[in-house]
Subunit: 134 residues, 4 copies
């Protein structure tokens, strides 16, 4: 459905990572970014928004870090493993924080439940990719 | 597969657009952004990169405009139709330029062919959504 | 203070716009993006956040559109006047909405007052640049 | 000149960092992001672009990571020191890579020289802020 794997398959040089695994990671990151952007806005529309301000903030951070991480992982020219690793660590950290925060509201807000799942999946994908890079 | 429609379905207030159509548009925009980021990098790795510099630039522009547009369309709180329309126009313009540029290299570079398709689909989705908004 | 004008001065090819005017516009856009990101977060920390949710949303939109616009205006290779124009229109629209919204809270929140000023300055800079492009 | 410090001064709650130092760091990060976006495009316009493809890529990465870092540092609601630290590490890593790459071309391309300086200043600012956070 996404363009990630078809595009990765056409990259004209070597990539030192499993392309299918990399594509799945990028897709998980993009899905998480989209969920976090939507969850921040859904929280803003809840009547109890005053109790969700930390959730909004964590969502915004997670969306921004995921967006940057997906872009860096989508580039292979002049590959820099140090940056990919540092950014994957930051992305996993953002997803952990946001997943925890959303999980705390998951019983009351369905958008937080779905977003928490996206954050968990993204964190796991980032950590799995980190393992293959070391 | 993506989180766009499930998240849209949980937005707790009214949305003055068809949610399925909106989700499909956001997915097309995100797919285009991902393709453009990857195509810019693939072009950089081609031996004939000197003939692809306009393609790289157009890809980068299109990725940035798509990313902003997807985010704005994912917010419904305090909806501003004027901004959505102006941004959809800009996004369709970016996709037209990038689709044309990539199409010119599609016979030689598979990444440009796939990216051109993603740009065409995204341009069409933006224009379709614009029609329903007027 | 910023790197915008020094970098523009070193661009190795022709630019069909006045470089000083272009640099000032990009600086105004970046300043607006920064103000909007900060204002969204400051609004989240106000006790009356429930009355500021539209302001948060407008700030987030304006920051995203400004970020994309500043990037596109910072590229000159394979220049596409149609995209620059469409994006400057969208950016001016975002700044108008956000400036109006922040101005409505400027008497009560100093962050909204400063942000409204940044939005006004950015909107004007975008419209001025649009005039020189037509 | 920038809106960073005036906006920080109006944040309505406690910030556990020196506001002037934080503002200077954010300004350095934004200046670096702007320089990197411009340097990537200037490299694309050089006749010897084929020898600058790694520089383009490193510039794009650095711009993306800086943009995300500046946004996260501009938020104080529900502050998460773990994420700030991880992202500052990633940002310093991106600036080191990009600064080294641009420095290698600084004798030949003035845009690379200015960008290398912006990367060095940003890396130092990130590392200084990290010290005050531990």
């Amino acid at each position: 459905m996404t363009t990630t794997m078809p595009m990765l398959a056409t990259y004209p040089q070597t990539i030192n990572l499993d392309r299918a695994k990399l594509a799945a990671t990028i897709d998980a990151i993009n899905a998480c970014a989209q969920a976090c952007t939507a969850c921040a806005d859904a929280c803003l529309s809840e009547e109890m928004v005053a109790e969700l301000t930390k959730c909004v903030r964590t969502n915004l951070d997670c969306a921004d870090v995921c967006a940057a991480t997906a872009r860096v992982l989508s580039r292979h020219t002049g590959y820099d493993a140090n940056l990919s690793r540092a950014l994957l660590e930051a992305c996993a950290t953002a997803c952990r924080s946001c997943g925890d925060e959303c999980a705390a509201h998951a019983g009351m807000h369905e958008h937080c439940r779905i977003c928490a799942d996206a954050c968990r999946a993204c964190e796991q994908a980032c950590r799995d990719l980190l393992v293959t890079m070391s």
